[in-house]
Symmetry: C2
Amino acid sequence: MTEPESVAARYFASLDGRDWEALRRLLAEDVVYEMPQTRERIVGRERFVRFNQEYPGAWRLTTRRVVTEGRHAAAWVESRTGDQRQDACVWLDFDESGSIVQIVDFWPEAYEPPPGREHLVERF
Amino acid sequence: MTEPESVAARYFASLDGRDWEALRRLLAEDVVYEMPQTRERIVGRERFVRFNQEYPGAWRLTTRRVVTEGRHAAAWVESRTGDQRQDACVWLDFDESGSIVQIVDFWPEAYEPPPGREHLVERF
């Protein structure tokens, strides 16, 4: 496991396990967290840890896919809260010491497909 | 540029340019395309090309980030239709010949943030 792969794996494990000390150790002090869907940004390790501490719900995370290249990683994560399931796509950047300096989260929500493509599509 | 990086770049360029022949050349005949948000699946190259040919709107695509590792790639793509902007997160798998055998698309939509985290967050 390369260093960014290991850091990415520990990042999701620390969030899943609510291990805030482990999470802090992976983050640069000036880490920037962005959610483009809501145009929200959190700057700094302590604010980001607090955001997660305060985030409601007994969510559990499972990584479906992690792709790592150089100082970049992309992860497809499944979050479950009770019987509710939600995918996330997460983009991580690492600094030269291997700490996470940027996180971009997307939380795509389920919706019903528009009409007109039933001749090409099956549902699962 | 490694082969999967090149294929990923040409995939988005062919979609952006509506170059259906170029797109066909990148796809395995039994390619599977999935959109987990709508639980829709398209099986087979010709159906997938037709889906794109029929997709409404004069969309243009720009890749914001592509991360490639072995036979997997992840891409953060920006789609613009007129003055409307929409991000996509795309997961590509390649077969041993370098053809694309699986595509998973997420299209996360903009929404207003829930209340309660204003003390941690700035808007952009």
